[in-house]
Symmetry: C2
Subunit: 280 residues, 2 copies
């Protein structure tokens, strides 16, 4: 915590996607000071091994802690799925991942108890969502969608190509669900890039299917946890505060690209990004 | 050189694509011993900055030299385009990239002198191919194709999606050429992944357009250079030797994935891969 009593929240992602989580955090905890780190020199994590992802994520978490973070949000689904225990062991402050909060919101939304999780290959392979959802009595189909991140990073957000790739992925998932006798009524976006495809997904899915992402539920959970820890003043405003919290941005590769692409995820301009070297 | 007089050739790529260059090298220099390093923990390079790519590539080149490499082939187009000078400065052995050899083969093939280069964003941004081609009196259109590597790594080699993505890229390049009054008769594949799309490209391009990649011309150049350096015995067989040279494979991420995906690029099974740590 700073001398002014402001809590410092570190938010970590392999790249830009975690900025959708930061975006949800800002109105929830406007009194905090935020430190966002994107490990852009080593992205993507979603196609890499558990050992490598854990090593990268631990280094990043430790850096945020060295900057004074009192609380760490692992906004990257892949890092949350593969490395949360490793990060918790290495960190001296509380750590929250996005898997549990995503599963919580799916549990609250699903009537059929059958949920589709769209995620990276590494997240699917880890089965972290399946385990977290099973804890709520949910059954899951986990579908790896490795082409969505590159398509989103290219800005092909409403391209016919992206529509066709989504159609193929959803059809394959639906076939798997059918074979298992499942009735999917909830789609959980298990990668922080995917919310940018929400409109396209909405068109591609039946109207009665709910689409969820972890950003909002994670931001709410962070607020609740900090209130429990008495780290937030009781009178700190909830949502809609006019104040814009102080945000510091760090990236391991091109700060120019971070500013340009990151602003798309954050929904507002990013002024200053500091280049840091994690030695990798 | 080993005590047996065998020359040791280090081949470096960010991942698997450089195996297409190794594949071309094996019959050209069957008497050599090969050391292939794929920096899979930090791929892809093609979307990253010059500084980061140079740092990664220099570390990898130095590692291959420490393994005893007498000659280094930078099989990665992005590393060749962005970091060849940095690697040459850091290395104590001769270094060959794939940009010059690719430009040479385009110069030999093109009648109109107007060449289309398909490459990663970073390679296009560097304009390395444009400069190398200009040295031969060629005009170039350089087209970044960031979605092709993910599509190829997914194995969507003859998918309608990949066909459509290619169509879009080629149409954009053709429009650019038209506006510049150019008549493209040669397409140079400026990324070692792209040869896997050769059949699809053949279907997508007019019959009189020549498709080239750097693998064969690079392998020939390596042989010529080594003969000049008298590092090859004069009677060493050219092509078609029955001997399979010794190959050692190293990767910075999952060796299992390297074996599986790498075999597709090398065109034969890869038995053993050693995991190494470049500290990143």
């Amino acid at each position: 915590m700073t001398t002014s009593g402001k809590i410092r929240i570190g938010v970590f992602d392999s790249g830009f996607g975690g900025l959708t989580v930061l975006r949800a955090l800002l109105p929830q905890i406007p009194t905090a000071e935020f430190f966002y780190l994107g490990d852009t020199a080593r992205l993507p994590y979603g196609s890499k091994s558990q050992a490598t992802v854990a090593r990268y994520a631990v280094e990043s978490a430790q850096l945020l802690e060295s900057y004074g973070a009192d609380y760490l949000v692992i906004a990257c689904n892949t890092a949350s799925a593969l490395a949360l225990d490793a990060i918790k062991s290495a960190a001296d402050v509380p750590v929250l991942g996005v898997i549990e909060t995503g599963a919580d919101s799916a549990a609250a939304a699903s009537a059929t108890r059958d949920v589709l999780v769209l995620a990276t290959q590494a997240t699917v392979d880890s089965q972290a969502y399946a385990r977290a959802c099973a804890g709520h009595g949910l059954r899951t189909i986990e579908k790896a969608c490795p082409l969505l991140v590159p398509l989103i990073e290219e800005g092909w957000i409403d391209s016919p190509v992206t529509r066709e790739v989504l159609r193929i992925y959803l059809e394959q998932a639906q076939e798997e669900a059918k074979a298992a006798g499942m009735a999917l009524d909830t789609v959980l976006l298990g990668c922080t890039h995917y919310p940018l495809l929400r409109a396209l997904l909405r068109e591609s899915l039946p109207k009665d299917v709910t689409i969820l992402d972890s950003a909002e539920s994670t931001a709410q959970r962070v607020r609740q946890e900090l209130e429990k820890m008495k780290s937030l003043a009781a009178d700190s405003p909830h949502a809609g505060g006019a104040n814009v919290p102080a945000c510091h941005f760090y990236a391991t590769d091109s700060v120019e690209k971070f500013r340009t692409l990151g602003s798309r995820f954050l929904g507002r301009p990013i002024e200053k990004v500091e280049l840091i070297d994690l030695g990798g």
